[in-house]
């Protein structure tokens, strides 16, 4: 099967968590791919498994979670089979990650400069104290005063400044892929825009691909080239940003867009009825069927395949057939 994404290609990824209430099947065959330099937005309601996917790609899933099945091809290597040792050489070098809570993602008892230098030292195999010039450049790049920030502690920085530090840390090793898990959700709106702008500018300058995980469709519209919509552990629709906003195919995507207030819209906002399904005993077939207005019998029986309906536009829904199958009800 030739790769859909030259940089990263995740296929049929299944991850489960063994908790006291039973086995939570968090990811149920996720499909995701990216080319280098590309900006992919991964959207969906809370609990749809977007963060678990990002952690799986970074191989950071630990007790009681486990990757059951699937392949994660990154730069030609299948990360699922790599040893912990080899994975460590990829993490922080070829791919890195920034998180939602910037202040708690930094070690409270360590100087910020040291924490950034650590990543550089690892990738360049040099002593941390020799990385300080580069750390200062990085801090300047993310718009912080290097002299003051390098020796300060996380609790001395504001939320926005900490997130800038995280971005600096993530990009310091010029990774091919930067995963950003809800980088702006914890910040107030004015800071959000600045951070997104910074991320955009830096990623463009350094040419790294960015996987942006968010539940804010506005951020996706502004930042991402391509969008993957996820629902209850499945990839349900993938398309370019423009195309998705213009002609959403999957009923869930439609519902999502309906719920987003946008300038110039006059029609009434509609919310999707029902709640996110319980992943311990998820609904059979297509997991959206209990909430899907167009649900048919087949939807209840089997999981719809994730097929390419139009060029570079995939969907997993029985309303649409694959490129080579006829659409049933036109």
């Amino acid at each position: 099967m030739e790769l859909r994404g030259k940089l990263l290609d995740v296929s049929n990824l299944k991850v489960s968590f063994y908790t006291y209430r039973g086995v939570v099947k968090a990811l149920n065959g996720v499909e995701l791919w990216m080319d280098s330099g590309e900006r992919l937005g991964v959207v969906g309601e809370t609990g749809c498994g977007k963060s678990v996917t990002s952690l799986a790609v970074m191989r950071l899933i630990e007790q009681p979670g486990e990757i059951q099945e699937g392949k994660i091809i990154f730069n030609g290597k299948n990360l699922v089979e790599l040893s912990e040792e080899k994975m460590n050489n990829i993490r922080g070098v070829e791919m890195s990650m920034i998180f939602q809570e910037p202040r708690s993602s930094l070690n409270p008892v360590m100087k910020v400069g040291y924490q950034i230098g650590e990543a550089i030292a690892k990738s360049k195999k040099i002593k941390i104290k020799n990385t300080y010039p580069e750390v200062k450049d990085m801090l300047r790049l993310v718009g912080l005063d290097p002299e003051r920030v390098i020796n300060s502690y996380p609790h001395e920085l504001s939320g926005g400044m900490s997130q800038r530090v995280m971005i600096g840390m993530g990009l310091a090793t010029h990774p091919k892929l930067l995963i950003a898990d809800e980088p702006t959700s914890a910040l107030d709106v004015t800071i959000q825009a600045q951070i997104l702008e910074l991320l955009d500018e830096l990623a463009r300058k350094m040419g790294n691909a960015v996987m942006l995980i968010t539940h804010d469709m506005g951020v996706v519209a502004e930042f991402c080239d391509k969008v993957l919509v996820m629902y209850a552990g499945n990839s349900v629709e993938y398309a370019s940003t423009a195309r998705l906003f213009e002609k959403p195919l999957h009923p869930y995507t439609g519902g999502l867009l309906q719920a987003v207030p946008r300038v110039g819209r006059t029609d009434e906002l509609k919310a999707i009825k029902g709640t996110v399904p319980d992943l311990v005993n998820p609904p059979s077939g297509c997991r959206f069927h209990p909430r899907c207005p167009h649900a048919m019998d087949i939807c209840k029986l089997e999981r719809p395949p994730f097929v390419e309906i139009e060029p570079d536009h995939y969907v997993a829904c029985y309303l649409f057939k694959g490129k080579n199958e006829v659409r049933e009800d036109g």
Partner: protein, 290 residues
Amino acid sequence: MEKTVKVSKPFMDDLKHTVFLWRKSRLTMIGSAIILIFLLMAAFAPLIAPYDPVHQDLQIKLQAPSWQHLFGTDQFGRDIFSRVIIGSRIALWIIFLVSVISGSIGIIVGVTAGYFGGIVDEVLMRITDMFLAFPSLVLAMAFAAMLGPNLTNTIIAISVVTWTTYARLSRAEAIKVKSQPYIEAIRAAGGGNLRIMFLHVLPMCISPVLVQLTLRMGTIILTAASLGFLGLGVQPPTPEWGAMVSDGRNYLIDQWWISTFPGIFIAFVVLGFNLLGDGIRDMLDPRLRR
């Protein structure tokens, strides 16, 4: 990372989950089993004990463990197995009384200090520090010497030394609870200080103090043993475990069983209380409820 686990509620109304946690952690199960045996032993002590624990029979003194005397006999020919069994009742009595006394003093001091804050807090906490800075064994020795060495005075001496930990614990809890909005609501509804303190703040302190109490119940017997070792403990012929271990120490080399068996029982009970204490703490601490 999204929480894939249901948001937990205090264990009272989430019984199924609590029972699961109880069953899941083997150690807590073992702990509660030990304590159960200990309680049963204390309750039915007179029935279980084959001989009179105080009866001396010098002809059969210092006999090794045998079928007539499971744990052998001590230097007066008394059956050690019966003394240990009856001793469990005394141990339970000491533990219960000390826990109640030191627990209540601790909570009252802690809650008052935490609730009122300011000068009251400063003064009460300094007093607690004083008792903490004081070498507790010397304090216990002094009280035992002052009041005369017997069972009740040993209990008082140990309680006087151990209440400080609970005071600090309940103070921290009281401060945390005092700042909760619902306390403001009650005060707004005209609730007096005393009412608030005892009806609302104090119950919240019970669980952390309860955990600490269970953890420390074992060490109470140890302090009693240390007092016995220094000659200030419980009076003969009462079969108190601590005194038995310290009296038997001179026979450790050849008649090892005299102090070993009470020692084992002390260790057993302490182990039980510690495991139980850990178990209760894990259950009450929401973050650990995976």
